[in-house]
């Protein structure tokens, strides 16, 4: 079945450093979504990428969808303590949305 791999599992960064999490699917995706879950909270939708090679930005966050629509990345520039949490990618293929295992981000101030 469809698998979505996400790395790294954990990342500790110093405040101000950049952070990137990567997502790879075993199958071609119709779209990929990114979610953020704060500690003790619930996943919150951040963005959806649909087109091959698409790049979208939200302030310090940059999202990319690969040309083959099988991989994606989320890059945060100059992390802040408010960025802490778990970032999930979720790939859609047909009527199934499969979540990656998530990357836990900790930011040291």
């Amino acid at each position: 079945g469809q698998q979505v791999m996400q790395i790294p599992q954990y990342q500790h960064v110093q405040e101000g450093e950049d952070f990137t999490t990567y997502c790879n699917s075993s199958t071609t995706l119709s779209n990929i979504q990114w979610y953020k879950q704060r500690p003790g909270g619930h996943p919150v939708f951040l963005i959806q990428l649909v087109k091959s090679g698409e790049v979208k930005k939200q302030k310090r966050l940059t999202f990319q969808f690969g040309e083959a629509k099988k991989n994606s990345s989320l890059h945060i520039t100059a992390t802040q303590t408010t960025d802490v949490g778990t970032y999930f990618c979720a790939g859609q293929n047909g009527n199934k949305l499969v979540f990656g295992a998530g990357t836990i981000l900790r930011v040291k101030s």
Partner: protein, 113 residues
């Protein structure tokens, strides 16, 4: 107003008991889901319903039985609770079956002793 709500927020119970978790969404969405998040944060879909009809039933023990009385509600009943059922259970909804952007509820933290 909360878009997707769940009750209870916390649930502590003994092994062997039966318990229910309720979910309601006021977004007018057609599709609702139940997810289980384990201690390692892995999110696994359990069920999805579209307009009260079961669409996805992942490999979930039949001790778990979802019920959707209408498209705004999706409840989860669990029989004969086991230690391994301890997790956070999230309800979610999306506008349509093939529009899968998920809006999550706050979660129900279940602890089985």
């Amino acid at each position: 107003d909360t878009a997707v709500s769940q009750t209870p927020k916390y649930l502590v119970t003994q092994m062997g008991n039966d318990k229910s978790i309720k979910c309601e969404q006021n977004l007018g969405h057609d599709t609702m889901y139940w997810y289980k998040q384990d201690s390692k944060k892995f999110l696994k879909i359990m069920f999805s319903y579209n307009n009260k009809e079961l669409i996805i039933n992942e490999t979930v023990p039949n001790r778990f039985s979802p019920k959707s009385p209408d498209k705004a509600h999706l409840n989860l009943h669990i029989n004969s609770l086991e230690l391994g059922d301890s997790a956070v259970y999230f309800c979610a909804s999306s506008p349509f079956l093939y529009q899968e952007t998920q809006y999550f509820g706050p979660g129900t933290r279940l602890l089985v002793l």
